[in-house]
């Protein structure tokens, strides 16, 4: 059952890499979060811990429903073109992502010296982390940066569950709160940037340089 969720996470992440438009990216993020929820729920069922159930529930409420909805709402409100603005085109992005996947696999297998069966989950987590970073660097709009950060957060969450068996409950809750607040703030900033510059292409902010 866990394999399904891991596979889903991988597919959702690749979908994000090849997404050309913002709604597609948000949708893929929703899928990714859903599979993250699934993975957490399975761990919770296995370990029968109340706190894990709560964390899974929070993932569902915040990351599957709340944040994607808020992002879509912001997109609609600021009403800009939906192109993400690719610095690396889809083909190159895909190749890079494959490279990341391989790197993560090697990294988690050799450097962390895990057994192969155990290494899969950290490898996927690393891959999601790297992809989040990739999205932030190689996509032009501020929306992509927000989602990239959220993806990295997902990867980090997964890594913590895989390697450490989950973070302490209160830390987890605090992180959720942080993520939610930061998304709200960033959404507000995107709105402000758009109002001031009539676009959200952060590359053009370089004009502000002294």
């Amino acid at each position: 059952m866990q394999e399904v969720s891991i596979f889903g996470l991988l597919v959702a992440t690749f979908l994000m890499v090849i997404a050309k438009r913002t709604p597609a990216l948000v949708r893929s993020f929703r899928y990714q979060s859903f599979f993250l929820f699934l993975a957490t729920l399975i761990i919770a069922l296995e370990e029968k811990q109340t706190s894990l159930y709560i964390v899974a529930g929070l993932i569902f409420i915040l990351k599957v429903i709340g944040i994607p909805y808020f992002l879509q709402y912001t997109m609609k409100k600021i009403n800009v073109r939906e192109n993400l603005g690719l610095i690396a085109n889809i083909q190159v992005s895909l190749l890079l992502a494959l490279g990341f996947a391989y790197m993560s696999w090697v990294f988690s297998k050799q450097l962390m010296s895990f057994s192969e069966a155990m290494a899969i989950l950290p490898a996927v987590a690393f891959f999601i982390l790297l992809t989040g970073m990739f999205l932030m660097i190689f996509r032009l709009t501020a929306m992509a940066q927000i989602i990239g950060l959220l993806v990295m957060e997902n990867g980090l969450f997964l890594l913590a569950s895989a390697v450490l068996g989950g973070m302490p409950f209160f830390v987890e809750i605090a992180i959720f709160f942080d993520v939610f607040v930061s998304v709200v703030i960033m959404g507000f900033f995107v709105y402000r940037i758009n109002k001031l510059f009539t676009h959200i292409d952060v590359n053009r902010l370089s004009r502000l340089r002294g």
Partner: protein
């Protein structure tokens, strides 16, 4: 070590004579300055701004008090930083003047550079003592390796030297002190820079302990340079408050002469002379706090009454502001070391220490200490010239401009502040025999020498530092003699003067109608010194004549100024280099968020590789 352990030894109550001495010094100057400020600030600023200023001033005084009483290095640093920041806010209090902002920036940069050195020194000490507590640091410093001690000493000297204004770290002082409101200048110049001397005594003499001759020698050399550079620049300046600020550099030099000489004697195992030297330094410290505070208050009164600090535009104020003139005269006489006022006592003690040292030390030290004494004498001579200029140009002769004509005496609160400090100037001169006793205890405590067996005073009238030799100072007797001479001279004058006076025009060399434009100027007064010290001052002079022919000139301009050697040859190249490297580093700043994110990603990868590799 946990944080609670770091802080459980902060004692905010004065526990030793050194702290007590500095507490007294701070309070003696800040209280009259505070009283003075009520009259000074009125009508200069809006009530809200005055309130903010007074709160800041109060906190500033509080922070200085904390600096000299804590017994923990960490707490010391915190208080030190608070003091620096509050004084920065007070320097830029006149925020509408661009000059204030500039002065504040120079000040805050310099003082933070100094604090960086202090932090480094404290961390080195912490590494060896495993504690920030003074007692434990003192114990650990007994077993410190010599090279560590040397490094710590150099760092402390740079750190505290920046605050004290030792040449060549003095450049912020003539900008920041004049720019603050006058009561703040008086506190900064009078007391704040003394906290640096406190730091030097506390950390170098008391905690580290001196066992190198070169420490004392280095401080003595720096002190002599500070003395001469400070007083020469003071002589050249036409801005009254800037003159006083440069004079502070000079006086810090004199104080450091005492401190450095004490270190020199300690390394030679001459505890008695070390105490005398430190005593002279401490005496001059409190004296300078008093008369420099007083002079800055007087300068503030002149500024308040006339609206200018440029001496060339003043003159004749003794008729409109007699009390300010009197107080300024007392302060000027004190700072010029004229007997029987306080400056004379401390400089006499310092000279005495130098002579005794030169007498008792064998070898090269004799020549060196003799040379130091000569330089100190030169300094006091130049200081006297400087204050003759200041008093003469500002208060005597005819007013040189409308600013000076309209001057009126200042309000009562300002007069109280000035009179109190003028009184102290006299008391600290005449009461030297009594004051010297507690000071010798402070000096003995700082050096770790028991003073109970040593004698520094005699029968309340004379001071005899050396029981056997004839080194006697009696300010009371000197005062008496001077007063008698004055009375005698006056009596002779009364007895033999012509009974009738005939009003007559001054012989004017054919220039009929002499007016204030023919008066001696401050620039003119200092010209002989400008010529004598031209190798250092590098004066620049330009004359421009505009006229129909060589013989008929319609107008003429004359311009002269001196080159600020330290600024031009040390700070400007350093600043240029900094900007150049900053411009070079700017190439990696494209301003694009993506590139910055890529930088972060690359850094993380490199760090991971680094961690795996090592």
């Amino acid at each position: 070590m946990s944080m609670s352990n770091l802080f459980n030894n902060i004692i905010l109550f004065p526990i030793d004579p050194l702290s007590l001495f500095f507490l007294a010094t701070i309070l003696i100057v800040t209280i009259p300055s505070f009283v003075y400020s009520f009259g000074y600030l009125k009508k200069e600023y809006s009530p809200a701004k005055i309130l903010i200023g007074q709160i800041l001033t109060f906190l500033f005084v509080l922070s200085m008090l904390v600096v000299v009483t804590v017994s923990n290095m960490l707490a010391f640093l915190v208080a030190w930083e608070i003091m620096s920041l509050l004084s920065y806010f007070l320097v830029v209090f006149d925020s509408e003047h661009e000059k204030s902002i500039r002065a504040g920036t120079i000040y805050v940069v310099m003082t933070h550079a100094g604090t960086a050195f202090l932090i480094a020194a404290f961390l080195i000490l912490y590494k060896h003592a495993h504690s920030f507590d003074f007692k434990l640091v003192k114990m650990a410093s007994q077993s410190l390796p010599a090279y560590i001690k040397n490094i710590v000493f150099i760092f402390l000297l740079i750190g505290f030297g920046t605050k004290a204004g030792i040449v060549p770290l003095h450049i912020w002082l003539p900008y920041a002190h004049p720019q603050a409101p006058s009561h703040i200048s008086s506190m900064m110049s009078g007391v704040m820079i003394k906290t640096a001397i406190y730091g030097l005594i506390r950390f170098v003499l008391y905690l580290l302990g001196v066992n190198n001759t070169w420490w004392g020698t280095l401080i003595l050399v720096l002190a002599i340079i500070s003395c001469l550079v400070g007083v020469i620049y003071a002589l050249m300046d036409q801005d009254l408050k800037k003159l006083l600020a440069y004079s502070s550099v000079e006086n810090i030099g004199i104080i450091l002469l005492g401190v450095g000489l004490a270190m020199y004697f300690m390394s030679k195992n001459m505890a008695y002379w070390a105490i005398l030297a430190l005593l002279a330094g401490l005496y001059h410290l409190i004296n300078h706090a008093i008369f420099k505070g007083l002079l800055f208050l007087c300068a503030g009164s002149v500024y308040k009454a006339t609206g200018t600090r440029n001496m060339e535009k003043l003159g004749g104020l003794i008729r409109t502001m007699p009390l300010t003139a009197f107080c300024f005269l007392i302060g000027a006489m004190g700072i010029s070391a004229l007997p029987p006022l306080n400056g004379f006592v401390s400089e006499w003690l310092a000279l005495q220490a130098f002579f005794m040292g030169a007498w008792h030390i064998a070898g090269d030290g004799k020549v060196f200490l003799g040379f130091c004494a000569a330089m100190l004498a030169l300094t006091s001579g130049l200081a006297a010239a400087c204050f003759v200029k200041a008093f003469g140009i500002i208060f005597l002769a005819k007013p040189r401009s409308d600013y000076a004509v309209k001057a009126v005496e200042v309000p009562i609160s300002m007069r109280i502040g000035m009179l109190f400090l003028a009184g102290l100037t006299i008391i600290f001169g005449l009461g030297a025999a009594i004051i010297i006793n507690p000071l010798s205890q402070v000096a003995g405590f700082s050096l770790g020498v028991n003073t109970t067996g040593l004698d520094f005073s005699l029968n309340n009238i004379t001071i005899q530092p050396l029981a056997g030799n004839k080194a006697v100072l009696a300010p009371l007797i000197i005062a008496l003699i001077l007063i008698l001479c004055g009375l005698l001279g006056f009596a002779v004058y009364r007895a033999f003067r012509k009974k009738t006076s005939i009003p007559y025009n001054t012989w004017d060399c054919g220039y009929y109608q002499l007016d204030e434009r023919h008066e001696y100027t401050a620039t003119g007064f200092s010209k002989p010194f400008r010529i004598a010290f031209s190798f250092f001052l590098r004066p620049y002079r330009a004359t421009k004549k505009i006229g129909d022919s060589f013989y008929h000139i319609r107008s003429m301009t004359y311009e002269t100024h001196t080159t600020l050697v330290f600024k031009k040859y040390i700070y400007e190249p350093a600043l240029g280099l900094t900007f150049k490297s900053a411009r070079f580093m700017r190439r990696i700043q494209p301003g694009s968020i993506h590139v910055y994110l890529a930088y972060i990603a690359i850094t993380i990868f490199l760090l991971i590789l680094f961690v795996r590799k090592f």
